[in-house]
C-alpha cells in the first residue's frame, strides 16, 4: 500500500543469523543461482529472462544510419536500460537513485566496452551507411540482482537477433527484405556475462551469489565480475560499500568462472529451442 521502506530489523537480523550458519533465507547454498529461465522469440531479437523473482525483457532492433564522422567504418550500438515503474512501485527512470542508474550503465558498459559486438561487420558503405544496433532492456520485476538478469537477457537477445542481408554492388548497397532473403545473425566476438556477489557482516566476511531483493537491501558491499566463455575477465565492478580483500575477489572469480559456463549453456539451449 505504501512506498518501499526497506526491510525491518527482524528481517535483517534473521537473514544475517541464517548466513552465519551457512544458510540463505530462500534455502539456497551461498554459491547457488536462483532458477534461471530464458526464452527467446518469436520475434528476432526478443529475449525474456526470469531469474528467481526478477524478470527482464531485452529487445534488439536495427536501422540503417550514417556512421559517426570519426568512425566511418564502424556500426553504432545504442543502449536503453531504463528502470520502469513496473519493476517496483516508486521506481522511475526520471527519479532514479544513483544505484539504479549504476545498474543501467553497468549493463551498457559491459556489452559496449567489452567489444562483444563486431562493429566493423556492421559497416555497409564506409562513411555513408552503417547498421545501428539498438538494445532496449526493460525491467519488468525487481526481485534482486537486476544486473545479472539484464546481461543474460541482452546477450541472448543479441545472439537471437537477425538483421536483413546486404549485398554490395560497387558503390551501391542492396538491403534485402527479410521475406526475400533470410536475415543474418550479428557477428558477436564473445559473450560477457555478469556475476554479482553480495557481502554481509561487519568485515564483509560472509558472501552470497545472486542476491535477492532482501539480501541486496541488507548487504554491506556488492561486487560484479563479468566473464566470457573464453575465461577472460571483461569487467570488474565494485563501487562503494565496505572494503574487500584480494582473497575474497579471487574466490569470487573462481566461482564466477564455473557459473558463467552454466549460464552460457542455458543460453545456447534457449536459442536452440526458439528455432526448433
Amino acid at each position: 500500500m505504501v512506498a518501499e521502506i526497506g526491510p525491518s530489523n527482524i528481517e535483517s537480523a534473521f537473514l544475517l543469523e541464517a548466513l552465519k550458519r551457512g544458510t540463505r533465507v530462500d534455502g539456497r547454498g551461498i554459491y547457488d543461482y536462483r532458477t534461471l529461465k530464458i526464452s527467446c522469440g518469436p520475434t528476432y531479437g526478443l529475449a525474456e529472462v526470469q531469474l528467481g523473482q526478477t524478470r527482464v525483457l531485452a529487445r534488439v532492433s536495427c536501422e540503417v544510419t550514417r556512421p559517426f564522422p570519426d568512425r566511418p567504418t564502424e556500426g553504432i550500438v545504442l543502449f536503453n536500460t531504463e528502470l520502469s515503474s513496473m519493476a517496483g512501485f516508486g521506481l522511475d527512470s526520471s527519479r532514479a537513485s544513483t544505484q539504479e542508474v549504476a545498474i543501467s550503465r553497468m549493463v551498457e558498459r559491459v556489452i559496449k566496452q567489452s567489444r562483444a559486438i563486431d562493429s566493423e561487420a556492421l559497416c555497409i558503405l564506409a562513411g555513408e551507411k552503417v547498421w545501428t544496433i539498438r538494445i532496449d532492456v526493460h525491467f519488468l520485476d525487481h526481485g534482486g540482482n537486476l544486473i545479472d538478469a539484464a546481461s543474460i537477457a541482452a546477450i541472448a537477445a543479441l545472439k537471437h537477433f537477425r538483421r536483413p542481408d546486404v549485398t554490395i554492388d560497387g558503390e551501391e548497397a542492396i538491403i534485402h527484405d527479410v521475406r526475400e532473403r533470410n536475415p543474418v545473425p550479428l557477428s558477436i566476438h564473445h559473450t560477457p556475462i555478469c556475476v554479482t556477489f553480495g557481502f554481509f557482516g561487519a568485515s564483509g566476511d560472509m558472501l552470497v551469489l545472486d542476491p535477492t531483493l532482501l539480501e541486496e537491501q541488507v548487504q554491506v558491499s556488492s561486487f560484479t565480475i563479468t566473464l566470457n566463455s573464453h575465461r577472460e575477465i571483461c569487467a570488474l565492478n565494485k563501487a562503494g560499500g565496505i572494503p574487500l580483500s584480494p582473497d575474497q575477489i579471487q574466490r569470487c572469480t573462481q566461482v564466477a568462472l564455473a557459473k558463467v559456463d552454466e549460464v552460457n549453456e542455458k543460453i545456447q539451449l534457449a536459442l536452440k529451442a526458439s528455432t526448433a
Binding site: M1, V2, A3, P42, T43, L46, E48, Q53, R55, L57, R59, S61, N80, E82, S84, S85, M86, A87, G88, F89, R134, D136, H138, L140, D141, H142, G143
Partner: protein, 226 residues
C-alpha cells in the same frame, strides 16, 4: 483477397494470456494476439503523492513503454487515451486519496497494439483486484484499399490500409463504445461496418478472458483448499 496469414476477414489471431506472472506488481497480465504482445502491471490502490491525490476518489495513472526506443508523443497519447478509458470504469470512489498506477510494456508490436494494451490492462486490473464496473475489451479493424474490412490487422495490413478503427466496449453493456480511434479516409458506412465487426470481435475476446480468469480462480481455489 486473401490475407497474408490466410485468416478469414473477421478472424482474430490466436489469443494468449497469462495472469499474475509478476511478483512486485499487485496485479499483472500478459496478453497477446498473434505476434502483438503486451504486458500490463498494476500497482494499486497505493499511496498517492499529496499534490496529485483526490479527496473523494483514486487517481489513475498510466505509463506506456514502447518495445523499441524511448517513449515518444505517440506513446504519451496512448497513455492519456487508456487513462480516459479506464478512469470511468474503475470504481475510484471506493479508494479515495490513493493512486492506481497502470504500467504497460509493449513486448512485440505487430498491429492492433492499442486494443492489445486495453485487453491486457483489463485482465491486469482483475488480477490486481481493483474494483471495476465492467470488463473493457477492445478490437481493431482496418479497411483495405480494395474496400474489404479485416479484423485484428497485422502491421503489414495496417500500413496498406485506407483507414483503421479501434473500438473498446464495456462488457454486458448495450451503450456505445468507451473508446474509439479512427484514422484515415472512410465513409460512415465503412465506420458502421467496422463498429459492428469490432463489437462481435470484442465478444469473442471477452469469452476468452472469462475462460482465462475462471481457470486461474479455480486453480487458486484448489490450491488453497488442498
Amino acid at each position: 483477397m486473401s490475407r497474408p496469414d490466410r485468416r478469414e476477414a473477421s478472424q482474430l489471431r490466436a489469443l494468449n494470456c497469462s495472469l499474475g506472472q509478476l511478483n512486485r506488481a499487485d496485479g499483472s497480465a500478459q496478453f497477446s494476439a498473434g505476434n502483438t504482445s503486451v504486458v500490463s502491471g498494476i500497482y494499486g490502490p497505493v499511496e498517492a503523492k499529496v499534490y496529485e491525490e483526490k479527496l473523494d476518489r483514486a487517481v489513475v495513472e498510466v505509463k506506456f513503454r514502447p518495445d523499441i526506443g524511448a517513449p515518444t508523443t505517440k506513446d504519451k497519447w496512448m497513455e492519456s487515451a487508456i487513462r480516459n478509458t479506464f478512469e470511468r470504469e474503475i470504481l475510484t470512489h471506493l479508494h479515495p486519496r490513493t493512486l492506481v498506477q497502470i504500467v504497460i510494456q509493449l513486448r512485440e508490436g505487430d498491429g492492433s497494439v492499442d486494443s492489445a494494451a486495453i485487453n491486457a490492462t483489463s485482465l491486469a486490473l482483475v488480477d490486481a483486484g481493483i474494483p471495476l464496473k465492467c470488463m473493457i475489451t477492445a478490437a481493431t479493424c482496418a479497411v483495405l484499399s480494395d474496400d474489404t474490412t479485416v479484423v485484428d490487422p497485422t502491421q503489414e495490413e495496417i500500413d496498406a490500409a485506407r483507414s483503421t478503427h479501434t473500438f473498446a466496449f464495456a462488457s454486458g453493456s448495450s451503450t456505445g463504445p468507451l473508446y474509439v480511434d479512427s484514422r484515415g479516409d472512410f465513409t460512415m458506412d465503412e465506420y458502421n461496418h467496422c463498429y459492428d465487426l469490432c463489437a462481435l470481435a470484442t465478444e469473442r475476446v471477452l469469452a476468452f478472458m472469462r475462460t482465462a480468469i475462471e481457470g486461474k480462480v479455480t486453480k487458486e481455489a484448489k490450491i488453497s483448499a488442498a
